[in-house]
Structure formats: structure tokens, C-alpha cells
């Protein structure tokens, strides 16, 4: 049962208005062909949960520039002047979350936890509207789980079952997001036969991946 699908078929499964988690950190580890195809198919009203919106012409920033994003949940938008402009103009809703808290909230969603207690943000504007919980004299914020309809994942290498490996800092949010969405679509630079990736090197087990985007042929 190969999970490989054509790029256009994979992206066709994403409805307008979907809540997407998209891997990557300043574009590194963001699946480029999935972004291309989202734009080509004219998907719209998207909610994007991601670390950042990169730059206006890079990665997730391209979705923002195309005005197909209704809401962004991210840890910073400082490198994307267009996201900032849309936020200030009221065109796009931006919810800012501390980066470590964002990572834990996504993880909690995928791991079946309701949330976590973190010291980050206590006494700052991040605290607004959240439960404060004191344990042994230390104060924490209760940060709740995040889930998504679809996760768009960039991997270095996959096998045909969907086991995924990542490379260096391109890993970032990808393995966390691959746990936290109903539909998981992964784009890998390379797809190898089952058994080529050793069990200890698999970061995302195949059972989490629903759909693997075929890579373009280089030979023949």
C-alpha cells in the first residue's frame, strides 16, 4: 500500500478554510512544492499554524502575500513586513505565541494531552485570558493543545510506507506537526524502498503519514 500520490491529488484533499500546520523555520523545512500547489489550486481562507511567516517571497510568506491566509498563529512575523502590514490593517488575524510554547502546544495536540504548564509568559501580555496555576510556589500558565485539519510536512527522506527522516535544522516543527493533524501530507526530497531507513533513524513513524507526494523524476 504505497502512500505516494501526485502533487495535485494530495493538495486537492485540502478544503478552503482548512486549518493547516506547516513545518519550517524561516522557510527552512517548509515543503516547497506543497506551497506552490496550494497557490496554483487557489486555496483560500486558510488558517496557518507555523513558527513564522518567513519573508514575503519565501515559504509560508508566499501564502500571506497571495492573501489566501485568514489567520496566522506563529511565534514571530518580524521578518515579513507584509504579514505585519496585513495584521495592522486588520486584513489578517495574527496570534503570537512564544516559540517554545507553540512547540509544546502542537506537541500536546498530537500526544493527546490537554495542555502543559509553562513558566514562559507569566506576568506578560501572553498571560491574558489564561489560567495561572501555582505548584510548589512557582507560577505557570496553562497552555492548551493545538490541532489542525492538515499538516504539511517537509522531510529529507521517506520510504514508501511513509517513514520520515529529517535533516539538521530543517527538522524543527515538522515531526511535532506530523502528530497533530487529521490529514498528514509529506513532501520528501527522496523516497527509498522500505527497509532502507533504519528503525532508529526514523523520526516520524509511517503510521502517522497519510499521503506522500511523489518527487519529480531525475532519470529516464
Amino acid at each position: 500500500m504505497s502512500k505516494v500520490r501526485k502533487l495535485e491529488e494530495a493538495v486537492a484533499m485540502i478544503p478552503d478554510g482548512a486549518v493547516l500546520m506547516i513545518g519550517g523555520f524561516m522557510g527552512v523545512g517548509t515543503p516547497p512544492h506543497l506551497i506552490d500547489e496550494l497557490l496554483r489550486q487557489g486555496k483560500r481562507d486558510l488558517t496557518v499554524i507555523a513558527n513564522d511567516t518567513a519573508r514575503p517571497t519565501v515559504g509560508i510568506g508566499r501564502l500571506v502575500s497571495a492573501k489566501v491566509v485568514r489567520k496566522v498563529i506563529a511565534s514571530h512575523i518580524g521578518t515579513n513586513s507584509e504579514t505585519q502590514r496585513q495584521m495592522i490593517a486588520g486584513e489578517t488575524v495574527v496570534e503570537l505565541v512564544p516559540q517554545g510554547t507553540l512547540a509544546e502546544r502542537v506537541r500536546a495536540g498530537g500526544f493527546g494531552l490537554g495542555g502543559v504548564l509553562t513558566p514562559t509568559g507569566v506576568g506578560t501580555v501572553v498571560e491574558d485570558g489564561k489560567q495561572r496555576i501555582e505548584l510548589d510556589g512557582k507560577v505557570y500558565l496553562l497552555e492548551t493543545a493545538l490541532k489542525a485539519d492538515v499538516a504539511l510536512i517537509a522531510a529529507k527522506r521517506a520510504d514508501y510506507l511513509g517513514n520520515l527522516e529529517y535533516a539538521l535544522t530543517a527538522r524543527n516543527f515538522n515531526p511535532l506537526m506530523a502528530m497533530a493533524a487529521e490529514l498528514v501530507i509529506a513532501e520528501a526530497e527522496d523516497i527509498v524502498p522500505v527497509g532502507v531507513i533504519p528503525p532508529d533513524s526514523v523520526v516520524t513513524p509511517n503510521v502517522l503519514v497519510d499521503c506522500l507526494v511523489a518527487k519529480e523524476r531525475r532519470h529516464g
Binding site: E104, T169, A170
Partner: protein, 217 residues
Amino acid sequence: MDEKTLIAKRVALELQAGNLVNLGIGLPTMVAAHLPAGVNVFFQSENGIVGMAPVPEAGAENEDLSDAGGSPIGAVPGAASFDSAMSFGLIRGGHLDVTVLGGLQVDEEGRLANWMVPGKMVPGMGGAMDLVSGAKRVIVAMQHSAKGTPKIVKRCELPLTSVRRVDLIVTELAVIEPTDKGLVLKEVAPGVSVADVQALTGAELIVPATVPTMPIA
């Protein structure tokens, strides 16, 4: 020596061999180039690596290896890469020895504001709130004033990054240590007087009997 180099050199003296260190974007990044001889530290980049290094030479970049700003970096032998949850586990869990961050304001209680100017600049906090809350030592590396307006103030008007008291402030004029009694002037820059520092500081400084000069050549 320009002001930023002076700050970077002085901050570098705070790092000890074997430390795990996270340097913020901008001025703090310059610290890496000024480590004292023999002091080997590990640099973390919060996008997921311990052991980051400059790109060794042009052409040796790798698309999957970048710093938190998205620029290409290198990696030392013995580097380790991991996901964002692990990266912030290292930060929040008290495994990060030192973080060096820029600042917009620091107040009398040693509280830092460095992520937002309401109505003007809304970049988001990125990893700053976790870094300031979680690192064993927080060093603020910044210019002493912004166009003559003090950045060290009685009380931060800008939104706080954390209520945790930072451990040290290093500027081109002085080294200041926030304590439970207030801001203690620890050192002045070469050629700078205590009065010079106080004049550009928006909060009361505690001035010991002797204030040494920064040990920067």
C-alpha cells in the same frame, strides 16, 4: 574599537568553557567572534541545533542548516540537531547556561522588554520569552541609549519579555548588575566616568566605592 565590538568583547568574557550559549540576532551574534583564547563553548540555535558555527568558507553552505534568522551556518564536530520541542526543552529546562539578548528597555527591577513597540513594531516574541524565563544566566547586550533616550529606565513602558530579573547588562558605557537592591554599576568603559553613565541612565544606579574599568584591550 566601535561600540558594538566593545560590547561583544565584554560579553564574551562572561562565557566559560563548556557553556551552552544562545546568542540573539543582531549585536549578540557578534559575541561568537570574540571568545577568549581557549574558551570553547557550544552555541545553540533555537531552530534546532547545538554546535552551530560560522559557515567555514563560501560554497560550504547547506540548505538544511541555518540559524534562527534563516541564514546559512556551519556545525562543529559533535553537533546535535533536534526538533523545536527539544530545543526549547533545553532552554526552558535549565540546560542553557547563558543567553545573550538585545534589549529595548531594562528597568530597575532588571526586567527586560525587547519584543514589541505597540503600534509600531509587532515582530512577535519568537524564542525570547522562553530564553529569558529559562536560561541559567541572561545577559542583555545593548547600546546604552537610543538617540539620547535612556534604555535603562525606572519602569519598562514597553511590554515585558519576562518578569525574571536578568543577570547582567552590558552596554558601550558600562556593565550593570540588577540585584534585589537595585541596579549596581560594576564597570565603566575605558574613558567613561560614573557621571557619564548616570547621565544616560533613566534609573538610579547603586555605585560602589570603586568602579573598575572594563578589562577590554
